[in-house]
């Protein structure tokens, strides 16, 4: 009974932390668009909290480079469990067109475990909402328990 209530509340109250990890802002615009009246993700209980200690889902846009990989790992560590990570856009998935740059580490999953990947340059807001709802299902299952691995 308790498990059911907790699972239901987890699915219905995902709080997001959006981190721009060196994106060109294309993906960020599409992500923020999901909060506007057109898409209104708040009807699913989604809140953009801007604080890792309150967040359940980490949305990451952009490539990871040598400078910001530490920030990304810190944000992930500061989130209390259960937590899931969504990587948004070609850059977040693999480094995108910046992949070969000397300062670029690659996609988000080179630093922290990623649960949901959204391809696209940029992906449409519908795809991002779809991914968040998929992430919510994974959150209910408890999310990944793995900690940050140093690479």
């Amino acid at each position: 009974m308790m498990e059911k209530i907790i699972g239901f509340s987890r699915r219905k109250s995902p709080w997001l932390l959006h981190f721009d990890c060196g994106s060109c802002n294309g993906c960020d615009i599409e992500t923020v668009a999901a909060l506007t009246p057109v898409y209104d993700v708040e009807r699913f209980g989604v809140v953009n909290v801007g604080n890792p200690k309150h967040a359940d889902i980490l949305l990451v846009t952009g490539t990871v480079n040598q400078r910001n990989q530490r920030v990304l790992a810190t944000l992930y560590q500061q989130m209390p469990a259960p937590k899931v990570v969504v990587a948004i856009g070609a850059c977040g998935l693999s480094g995108g067109i910046f992949r070969q740059a000397p300062n670029v580490v690659g996609g988000v999953d080179r630093v922290i475990p990623v649960d949901v990947y959204i391809p696209g340059c940029p992906p449409r807001p519908e795809a991002i909402i779809d991914a968040v709802l998929l992430a919510v299902e994974k959150l209910d299952a408890g999310g990944k328990k793995t900690s940050v691995e140093k690479r």
């Binding site: 109250s13 708040e42 009807r43 209980g45 801007g50």
Partner: protein
């Protein structure tokens, strides 16, 4: 002797009723804000879902005070509410509530986060601004009934609102400050209206955050209960007045942009306190 079981029931039911009422009110205000922005908004019971989720989430502490503070604040708010329902002394209720509210400041300053530190300072200013107005309200009660007790209020022939209209305007400012509503949401920084991304609750997580949230709910219910004091001749009137105040503050929140804490102190607080004092002087005439 027959009164005791009824009183005990009242004491036990008050926190439960306040919890359910506050949850629905907070759900209503999120939905109201969404509708004003032509969005659908979350369901009415969303605050309860958020709470259940937070209770089941991992709770981390950067400082043991962060575990102590929300519990003490919640306890004080509950005691203040029960005292109100038992029609105790308004000054006692205010002091109990203030003692609990100060733990929000302690929690904020107890964290190492600069956001939390800054918001803790601002919370002090907000407490100062809101509590002065409430103490003036207590003074007005004394001048009309000759007592700080709530009981004599319920024997008045005509509603207090007719004698204290300016005080009611000042009360609305205090309510907006307590509800952490724009333009008075510096310390909470709840809705990203402010220049700070986080408020006093920055370092809280999991069940500590949930308890801090419930304490805030109870404090808002207490403030709305103060609103009913302006209409004590019949129950429905008081309830309607409190609901109207709640909706007014929400409309204000959705139609004002961010302001600075200097504005709070110099303009709105001075205006509210002047209105309250003017009303006190008029009572004396």
């Amino acid at each position: 002797m027959i009164g005791y079981p009824a009183k005990l029931l009242e004491i036990l039911l008050t926190p439960l009723a306040a919890f359910l009422l506050a949850g629905m009110l907070f759900g209503l205000q999120r939905r109201l804000a969404a509708r004003l922005q032509s969005r659908l908004g979350p369901p009415l019971w969303q605050p309860f879902l958020d709470l259940a989720k937070l209770l089941a989430k991992e709770s981390r502490l950067t400082n043991p005070w962060l575990a102590v503070c929300p519990r003490l604040q919640l306890a004080a708010a509950t005691v203040a509410l029960v005292l109100f329902v038992l029609r105790s002394d308004l000054l006692v209720i205010l002091f109990v509530h203030m003692a609990g509210g100060s733990f929000l400041v302690v929690g904020g300053l107890g964290s190492t986060s600069p956001y939390s530190q800054c918001a803790g300072q601002r919370q002090l200013w907000q407490m100062f601004a809101a509590e002065t107005i409430l103490f003036l309200l207590a003074a007005a009660l004394y001048m009309t009934t000759g007592s700080f007790g709530l009981e004599p209020l319920y024997t008045l022939q005509q509603p207090l609102l007719l004698r204290l209209p300016l005080m009611f305007a000042a009360y609305l400012v205090a309510l907006a400050i307590k509800m952490r509503k724009s333009p008075f949401d510096f310390a909470g920084a709840d809705h990203s209206h402010q220049e700070l991304v986080g408020g006093v609750l920055t370092d809280y997580s999991g069940r500590h955050l949930a308890l801090a949230e419930v304490a805030h709910w109870f404090e808002v219910v207490l403030y709305l209960a103060f609103g009913t004091l302006f209409w004590t001749t019949d129950f429905a009137g008081g309830l309607l007045l409190a609901l109207a105040s709640f909706l007014t503050v929400n409309l204000l929140d959705n139609s004002t942009a961010r302001l600075t804490w200097r504005w709070l102190l110099t303009r709105s607080w001075l205006a509210a306190v002047s209105l309250a004092v003017l009303n006190l002087l008029l009572l004396g005439v």
